[in-house]
Subunit: 152 residues, 2 copies
Amino acid sequence: MGQNGAGVNLETSLGYLLKEASNALRVAMEEVLRPLGMSVTHYSCLELLAQRPGLSNSELARGAFVTRQSMNVLLQALERDGYVTRPAEAPIGKALPARLTPRGRRSLEKATAAVRAVELRMLAGMTETQQSDASRLLKSMIDSLHSSDEAT
Amino acid sequence: MGQNGAGVNLETSLGYLLKEASNALRVAMEEVLRPLGMSVTHYSCLELLAQRPGLSNSELARGAFVTRQSMNVLLQALERDGYVTRPAEAPIGKALPARLTPRGRRSLEKATAAVRAVELRMLAGMTETQQSDASRLLKSMIDSLHSSDEAT
DNA sequence: CAATCTATGTCAGAATACTGACATGGGTCA
DNA sequence: TGACCCATGTCAGTATTCTGACATAGATTG
């Protein structure tokens, strides 16, 4: 049915290809994170905190591409389970800087290794030049998409 | 807080960049589809049917990167509202070939134009050569990620 | 031919993310 | 200074998607 493989227009669409690649990456990440009892958003939050300690809930949300409400639910769970700590009062404004606990750092280790392996697998067959080409092209697309949002 | 812009490692990760680009595209599509009362999955389903009439529920699900259960919910709503038709009985197997109604085709028109405009905006600033480069690189990543799934 | 395997459609419940709303802290500016 | 605007944290309800499960149709295989 639907003679699959007969690309009509979707195969030539960079937008569709982008979604396909992103989906393949997400599926691959879920696959390796599931045995560790971790979702992609869960991992993203921990990785962000490892690389930029003190990020606030809203900043983590933007970094993980979810709403701050969703991230808040996750952060509260992570705090309750001892992976993350936040001060009771904000040092400035209302933003509460979050930090990984030793336990959080420990739980992140295996996940980071697993995700790095996935990324390496994705990059297999690409030269360093091609990788930086891809990086530049993706950044161009991101910039173009963002530029007209501001023009409100 | 978190001195944004100080890329530590995420900015150099192609995986993160891929997710960022895909997210920017999704947000931009939601923006133009919302006035039309259409979600991205909703649009994807209609566009797939326009380009490949007769696709089954499961095939549409794979094409839109959701589960067949999710697509089934959507398809039932689309059928109820007269955008899509499916035969009462499967001509072969259990797969029910879906087709757009004239109403479905009509509702897709504006959406297609809007989405095409978004994609053109995304591609602004890229030469044709760069676009085919991007296409090739994305396909390489997709292939690499899929290849080891089969090795189960 | 019978058993097994794979793919499909569908129902039900759980998990996840989102929209809406409110109060608060801080910066802007007239 | 006071009014306004923006960002943040958080609560509540809604929506969407996913996981689990079951029955069925066709293909495969012994």
